[in-house]
Amino acid sequence: MIQLILSLFVGLVLVVSLYFFARRAKPSAEGSAQQLREARQTLDSLQYGLLPNDLVERIFAREDLEYVFSAAPPDVQSLFLADRKNVALGWVRRVRAAVLELMRFHRGHARLHARLSFSTEIRLALNFAGLLTACRLLQITFYLRGPYAAPGMVRTAAAAASRVCSISENSLAFLNVKGVDPLNSGAARHRA
């Protein structure tokens, strides 16, 4: 019976994949100068626009919660929690969108290189997936239990992000050019 289910599953997955394959839109020319410029702008907006530090600190500031709970009447307390919940949900949504953009950007550029490290690419894909899942779980938790309810899960998401960072770093090791600072060289070209 397992063989039956497995075989039918493979056949159906192939047929469904082919349906989406046939409908797939033409991919954008990722290597063009315009695309590279747009990618850099996206990264800039990720770093400086979508994730400002003080905004995050404000959203999750426990002192706000303590102040409202000590000084305000119950209806204001619930209003505060509902409002903060919406803000936290919006923040996770934006982080998730940022990770997705980063993933798209990485794939778009990785494909231009003939020799990829496959183990690195697989680990990177798994870590991106882990990070996206963690963001989704955070969204669900914030939705169900409020903005102050998911410290453990946020730590998991942070660990996944950390792994992505270290693997990205490893994947660049074979491309190292002596005396060139990756970040400055990119920024310098962007400014030019």
């Binding site: 997955v13 047929v15 082919l18 990618a39 530090n53 940022a98 050019v177 990756p182």
Partner: protein, 255 residues
């Protein structure tokens, strides 16, 4: 039902001949040599089996059918390798990955086959040819799926010829897996439907190939490989952005 199946099979032979003639006319035979060899082999074996069906007994015909089917199946695996080589011509690592997937899945299937033959004296390969074909089709499906997934994941552009080859071959392999599985599990009652589904799905694949391979279309030009410094700079910024995300996520737990 029998007549319909015959008509579809003859139509298939005609379309195969049309594709091969067109390949010679357009001088594309050498460009997709494994695929056209596969098609030529299928055409020759089909004609041979058609003649044999009138001259030999049903058990001998069944033996001939499954043996020749395994030959074309092996050539079909070559077609997948050819597809991968063309699509990932500028992506050596991805091509190598698909080959490894194919080698591992085929290896696992042949290992299981060898174990059956060696340790199960009552298990006869000819008696279980449908099972073997289904398993090999699953290996082909796995390799095709890895090609489809990788081209989608990395957004690799595929030309009309290759897209048609994948679609046609995929439709045939997918339908074959489903129908062979049902034939093995449902039994003899499914045979009439199986005899119809096989030629129909193959004819559908042939029609897709006819349209896709009518004229040669070179593979889409890929942008030049960026310099190491470019890549390093951009990836460095990616890393920095990811670092920002991590930093933000790190901050939240203690709040």
């Amino acid at each position: 039902m029998e007549i319909l199946s015959q008509v579809v099979a003859y139509a298939g032979l005609l379309i195969e001949a049309v594709i091969l003639v067109r390949a010679i006319q357009c001088k594309t035979f050498s460009r997709y040599s494994i695929f056209y060899t596969y098609l030529l082999t299928v055409l020759v074996t089909s004609v041979f089996l058609e003649i044999a069906s009138r001259m030999v007994t049903p058990p001998v015909y069944a033996l001939l059918y499954w043996r020749l089917q395994l030959v074309t199946l092996a050539l079909g695996c070559g077609v997948i390798v050819e597809i991968s080589t063309h699509i990932f011509a500028r992506h050596v690592s991805l091509d190598r990955f698909v080959r490894w997937v194919a080698i591992i899945t085929f290896g696992a299937i042949f290992l299981a086959f060898a174990i059956h033959v060696a340790f199960l004296p009552h298990w006869k390969p000819v008696a279980n040819a449908a099972e073997l074909e289904r398993d090999l089709r699953i290996a082909q499906a796995t390799a095709l799926l890895s090609i489809v997934f990788l081209t989608g994941y990395y957004g690799i552009e595929i030309g009309k010829n290759m897209k048609g080859l994948i679609l046609g071959f995929g439709v045939y392999v997918g339908v074959s897996i489903i129908s062979l599985t049902l034939r093995i599990f449902v039994g003899i009652q499914f045979s009439p439907i199986w005899k119809l589904i096989g030629p129909f799905s193959y004819t559908a694949a042939l029609l897709i190939w006819t349209v896709a391979l009518w004229s040669y279309e070179p593979a889409p030009a890929s942008p030049p490989e960026p310099t190491d410094v470019d890549y390093r700079g951009l990836a460095g910024r990616t890393r920095q952005a990811l670092g920002s995300i991590q930093e933000q996520l790190d901050r939240t737990p203690d709040r």
